[in-house]
Amino acid sequence: MIIAKDIFKSFDETEVLRGISMEFLPGKTNLIIGKSGAGKTVFLKILVGLFEPTAGHVWYDDIDFFSLDKKQKREIRMKVGMLFQGSALFDSMTVEENVGFPLDMFTNMTQKEKLHRINEVLERVNLENANDKYPSEISGGMQKRVGIARSIVMQPRYLFCDEPNSGLDPKTALLIDELIKEITYENNITTVINTHDMNSVMEIGDNIAYLHLGQLAWTGNKNDVLESDNELLQSFIFASPFLQRLREQALGE
């Protein structure tokens, strides 16, 4: 479980996050949604420790992350996997080398054991036979899957995904969502997904937090979204007239 408590973040005079408190549960897909500029990415970067909050705390289970020294933080990070918006695959490495990088760096596995583990996770993300390809030789959807494979190769307890569907066609986006959901459930991982993809919200939103202007404006799950009377949430999720009509039909209005 990850708990964020009273998180504030300012850049110079600009206050980006204003007192966000939230819990992210294990074995659930926890979604952070909100308009561009709402503070989602900053909040996610604070959760993974890339930014330090101006005030507030982040607990990984019962450990206050920002009270740790660098070495202790690294130990926590060994349990963290992250999928970046642009996948962040290393261009000079093949798919196999990218996925195997954390194993090379932090384990004493033999070459055979490493290859077995790499193939296992690549198979898990349906990417067999891509080992020798470079990131520039595979599609955006495949790059995301390699990113997922790299983030789960060390069997993390916490998985963060920053806009996992950005730049993908709707069908591939659904596959990526499904994959993240399955991995979360299979391994009882605490997964935090930063998204503004409405399909993700309605398909995999076990816990949803809606941020508005740096504050937590609504929490619930995918079943609560339709019936919520939170105007900020409704204007965000059902922004288009088409979605608004679908909502009215679903509610029988």
């Binding site: 130990e75 963290v80 996997g81 970046f84 290393f90 990088f101 954390p102 090379d104 760096m105 932090f106």
Partner: protein
């Protein structure tokens, strides 16, 4: 601060060693042609210029070999080579690290638990400290050969005289100074370039500026330390 973090204990020696070898190949093999070309012309120009200057004077012609040798060892091989490497290798390092920062590669490594300052900077510094003195040695030899090719076949001086000049008034301390300079300059150009690239913020314009700054600041520091080393060791 970056250096303090960079010079900490590697997470895994074998991974750092592999990266150091890769960097050695990039810096060494990748720079051989440009260093060779520049050095041959430096030596040739020095020989031709001195042959012209000494023509009609009472100074013996074998001094051309002596001057080309000392010029190559004391100044042109370490300083000019490192100024060129600051442009080639330094800008490349700054752009590589800056690109990694912008494409979130560095963030990805940080989240994995990698000490990015160490993994991305230390192998580059170690590789440069080993390879650049070797390149400087090659540069000195090639400059001397360049000088020979410029003045001997044209008949400005005989081969025997050139060789006599190369052997005359040899001071081993000059070679020591060449290596001291090459190590100091290698350290400057890698650390300055890595610093500029590692902390880059913004987009492609900032990346371009970081790359330019890496070259400009490296060159200024190399020339300043060139003077200081000369003043300390020869003064």
């Amino acid at each position: 601060m970056l250096l303090k973090t960079a010079f900490s204990r590697p997470e895994k020696f074998s991974v750092y060693w592999k990266e150091t070898l890769r960097q050695m190949e990039d810096i060494g093999i990748g720079s051989l042609v440009i260093v060779g070309l520049i050095s041959v012309f430096m030596g040739a120009v020095a020989a031709v210029q001195f042959a012209y200057q000494l023509d009609g004077t009472l100074v013996p012609s074998y001094y051309i070999g002596y001057i080309v040798r000392d010029l190559a060892i004391i100044e042109s091989a370490p300083t000019i080579t490192c100024l060129v490497l600051a442009g080639k290798v330094g800008s490349n390092m700054a752009a590589e690290l800056g690109g990694m920062r912008q494409k979130e590669h560095i963030d990805a490594m940080e989240i994995m638990g990698v000490n990015t300052a160490a993994y991305l900077v230390l192998p580059k510094v170690v590789a440069a400290l080993v390879v650049i003195p070797l390149l400087v040695t090659i540069s000195a030899y090639v400059a001397i050969i360049g000088g020979y090719l410029a003045v001997v076949p044209s008949g400005a001086i005989s081969g025997d005289d050139y060789e006599r000049g190369l052997r005359a008034f040899f001071v081993p301390r000059n070679v020591e100074m060449m290596y001291i300079k090459s190590v100091v300059f290698a350290f400057i150009l890698t650390t300055v370039s890595c610093f500029q690239g590692y902390y880059v913020k913004g987009g492609s314009i900032e990346l371009g500026k970081a790359s330019t700054n890496a070259v400009v600041y490296s060159n200024i520091l190399i020339l300043t330390s060139d003077y200081l080393i000369a003043a300390l060791l020869m003064g």
